[in-house]
Symmetry: C3
Subunit: 484 residues, 3 copies
């Protein structure tokens, strides 16, 4: 098989119809170079505090990306062959050999967002101009490996090159935030902030919950084994996170259940939880109650609250035993928002100063539950198409199912939600292209004027993320308060 | 910001592709002026009996339209500022000021059906030619207010101008039907009829159920506290409604549950219900049983039965406490039709003289449950895309998900289902455009011949509503009995 | 009404946009004449063993096709009028009269796949050039009836003419497989094989379960009333089926529940089942356990396992009483795969030598559950759009919802799943056209290169079915092992 050329078509992802494409191109042209606002993601802050060169191509692009190795695993490739670490640590796999295995299976990604993101990185970041295949594997490895050894490919240089205005990472309440402090005091101008992700000390079923609780007490100097002290510890750490730039919290729960127990009942439940005596139903109730407690604190301290429910974590029992968390075996489940969120909404749903952003992995809830809820409750906004749905078809369905009931202004722009740092520009570019394609159709069908679409394209690219996540930017107006 | 022109593009909502648009235009051109059949809606019959001028712009267009104020509320605008009545009555809000607040937030509706319906009303009904914004708010207010004071904008004049052939309102079993009697004896030719909506005396959890039951006894002179008398009262009132032109009943239940209890069990359950002793499960069972009882009566008296399940009413507890029902806080829920309807279908599913029209707010049931059920059972037909789905994308999904299994002839045309009288032509126009766009795609993909599409366009606009709702029209043939 | 011409447009089902259509045409042109691989269906093997002429048009095309008579039944046509057999046997209906009734209602199928399949058969198989209607009913009847009396329309002649390379039927474990043996020893070259469908001896709620178990013991000479003997009997018959060419098993269960009981618990449950003492919950648990047992045997003997869950069988109680199974009253239900499949996947999910193909009637699971599961577990692949979704819109949704997460290579090509033998070419043609249309859009939006699309078009038409169903074909390479 011949080596085939690789390039990025300037009209990729825009609608094929010439009239739509012309409109989409105009809209996209005005937003493609806007700065990147990344209010939710999972990059490693030590990259930016230490600014050390990234490792080899496999270690950077393959081993940490569960989108990639889950697909290869589904077709029979062992994780060891790809250099993915197990509980025993990284396997003894030659990174070049891992890359060759990946390259030989690259056709599996045809039609997937992973292929698009990677090709964007290959062309735009590394300047490669042939397609990845078994035949070009070594060429790729050599080019990328050489680039990574240069200063231009260190984390801060790439951050600047990518045009990132704001990047949030996610840390646990027991994290020291040292990397963020180091970034802040480094004199480097990049805005990398944290976000408060308290699952490890909120979810009684989280692996290592007891140890995390212990550490939570130590880092806060609070008696976290009393209900009062435990809540106070959250307050303390939220302030620490705010001092480290955080504007939001994030909550990854199995369901969208919330609860609003009396203080006495909540304290009693917590007592059971800390003694390790909570059964599955009580663990669920505790997580549910804690969402309401977090909302209460958000109302006090202004952190925007994000709820990411509906993933059955670590579905593959054997793989979890051998390799641990986050190995591509998290599977979405049906999620009930109408009943689940009601206790929290009954308590705080009408608060105008509180912001709660809800995500879903269950697309059947877009039009049925989430758009009607966000189109009514002042506290609620809809997070963008998430995880498995963070893709051209997924993003298109998100707009088609939510816009007519929730409008655009109850959504919050794009989240890349990634630990794959190099793919951040690619992901934002995909979102901008898909949104401009959707807007172009509304214009071509005379459902929206072109000037409205142009404003919306900019709002979807940057403005809504800035206002929903309360990111200061002097040059930005909150979209909902635009003068006439 | 400059004042911008407003007009309705003749091709709006038709597909952008030139080949499709040409076909859609041809199909739409032949049906756009067909009369309006509105077999299900919530306009106020007193408008047509009294024929008094409508109030001011805010009172007419804003305060009663939960599509509008729910969106503004979601973005922090208090209902008081819009003139929406609370339980204490209408607020003391200057209607012009309310209109200005609405106008300043009109961009929130970009991409929503509300914007389309309103722009249609502004242009077609009031002849306005600039876009609504904070800057044009007063101009709008003045133009609309002046028009409403003229005879040409009284209810009957607009009814005639709109080309409405048939308009059904919805009344409770304790309604006197005086307005309908007054219309009938007025000499005015407009056909405004009622529909039987017995929820207030069927749902034990309906606010004011006990009082409604009392009134039900008084208006029928039946002993409605005995099971036999209660059923007889329904028969009596159904006859009254038929005399007032009704061709249908309507049932808005939280779920699609039906039941088929023995007469003794039904009587015992009713006994518990009238004593106020039914718990949530028994209330649900009673509603379920009553759907089967209503079907039995429909088989006797010929009223077409409509089932509208799946809305979680008054989800916002605080708002319900302060403002009461129908304030934009009804949220759809997952609905099970396969199990829910089975008892009723086991009893009456194969009756050829009975017509039951089922609606849904849960689009995941279109292809999975409703199209297969309607494509098999002689009694069942599918109501159109409803409420949150009564929109271009929603209607398109309805056709795409139901047609291949249920065909077109197990659907019933369009329902506007609105209390916003002025928007009725706009809503029917949207439905006709979207249906013609869908048919045009089938023609362009050679899945349908153009002559078939033309027949279908007319059936979807008028014919299917006439036959499904048993509306006499000498000039109409029932579509399923068309000669070859 | 005039008689109207009928022809098949060469571009039917391809996208209307000229750029997309040109690409789709190119892709389709290269695969339209590839052989038909039909790895899952319900044709009658006696057709091919006996090679007798088919009966009259109604008996061949109408009476056995539940897609057709369910639609007519839904519009009030009695099954008797169509010649559909009841439990008392075939009705005494003149087949020409039945055909006329069908023809007079043919407009009901506008926009449905049935109309497309039939028109394909009318034109391609019988050379008819006018549309079916009341007026042309007799012409159709005469042409088809005359053709069926000729040798060119005997089953083997049509099989050869259709270009079928591989055709699987489905038999029960108590089937003698005599027809398959007769085909094998006949000297005719057509490859018609069986598939193992053990529902009648696995599902305690299957009508006639006790009798089937008895027969299962007789045909295998095993003590099928002991757990050990029962499992051994499955092993024995699976070997018989493999000898008759089977490469797969098929399991049509109400849900996707699986279980992994201890041997002792499984034996105890089986003891209850054979005594007829299992309640609904235990019957479900037994079916669930048997899926895991079947997976264990597939790992031993190499049969690919197919799971078809989620149909509520015989929903219409009165019709089931009068007419029995498979009368168009099977209705899909919500299906849970994430919880349901977990026990089986915990046991065998990571086995690289085991193949399990999962189907669904619940499209909401495509993107939420099935694509993520198939995109991770080595054993799982996704069956194509099935039954009610085996249609242009249904197939398009399948690709749009599954490709981005599962890729193309975790799917298995097309299944016609039909007992309507004459429609097999039509069905495969529809699938190829729709897939080429989908691929064309990816190419036009620069999400796929044209050479990749061309490879995929051939894989979707033949290659993936061959590899997933382990069908030997010397000329074929397993798609996932293509050299670079």
């Amino acid at each position: 098989m011949a080596v085939r050329p690789l390039s990025l078509h300037p009209d990729r992802l825009l609608p094929a119809d010439p009239a739509l494409r012309a409109i989409a191109r105009e809209l996209y042209g005005a937003v493609c170079d806007l700065p990147i606002i990344s209010p939710h993601g999972h990059t490693d802050p030590s990259w930016f505090s230490d600014n050390e060169p990234f490792g080899n191509p496999s270690q950077l692009l393959l081993a940490p990306d569960h989108y990639l190795y889950r697909m290869l695993y589904s077709q029979g490739v062992p994780l060891e062959a790809l250099g993915v670490p197990s509980r025993a640590g990284p396997p003894d796999t030659d990174p070049r050999q891992a890359w060759r295995t990946f390259a030989a299976h690259f056709h599996l990604f045809r039609g997937t967002p992973s292929a698009m993101w990677l090709n964007h990185v290959f062309v735009e970041v590394f300047g490669i101009d042939v397609r990845l295949s078994a035949r070009t594997a070594d060429h790729y490895y050599d080019v990328i490996d050489a680039a990574l050894k240069t200063d231009a490919f260190r984390p801060r240089a790439l951050f600047d090159r990518f045009g990132i205005e704001f990047l949030a990472t996610t840390e646990s309440p027991v994290d020291s935030l040292d990397h963020h402090h180091a970034i802040a005091s480094s004199g480097w101008g990049g805005r990398v902030v944290t976000a408060y992700r308290p699952d490890p000390v909120i979810d009684p079923e989280y692996p290592g919950f007891a140890d995390a609780l212990e550490a939570f007490g130590e880092i806060t100097n609070e008696d976290v084994f009393s209900w009062k002290g435990y809540l106070e510890a959250h307050r303390v750490r939220r302030e620490d996170f705010i001092a480290a730039g955080a504007t939001s919290t994030d909550h990854g729960h199995p369901t969208a259940a919330t609860a609003d127990l009396s203080p006495a009942d909540a304290a009693a439940l917590f007592g059971k939880v800390v003694k390790g005596g909570a059964d599955a139903r009580e663990a669920e109730l505790f997580r549910a109650q804690m969402l309401t407690e977090m909302a209460r604190m958000s109302l006090e301290d202004g952190l925007v609250m994000q709820i990411h429910p509906g993933s059955f974590r670590n579905h593959n029992a054997a793989l979890f035993a051998s390799h641990g968390r986050d190995k591509g075996a998290d599977i979405p489940t049906r999620t009930d928002y109408v009943g689940g969120l009601k206790p929290l909404l009954d308590r705080f749903g009408n608060e105008r100063e509180l912001g709660i952003i809800v995500f879903t992995l269950d697309e059947s809830t877009y039009a049925r539950e989430l758009a009607p809820l966000a189109g009514h409750y002042p506290v609620l906004k809809l997070g963008p198409a998430w995880w498995f749905h963070d893709s051209p078809e997924g993003m298109r369905r998100f707009r088609e199912h939510t816009t007519e009931t929730a409008g655009f202004y109850n959504t919050v722009g794009f989240n890349d939600d990634t630990r794959a740092f190099l793919s951040i520009p690619a992901r934002h570019d995909v979102a901008r292209r898909v949104d401009c394609g959707f807007l172009a159709r509304l214009v071509a069908e005379h459902r929206l004027e072109i000037d409205e679409a142009a404003e919306l394209a900019a709002d979807l690219a940057c403005g809504l993320a800035r206002s929903a996540y309360r990111i200061d930017a002097n040059e930005t107006m909150a979209p909902a308060r635009r003068p006439a």
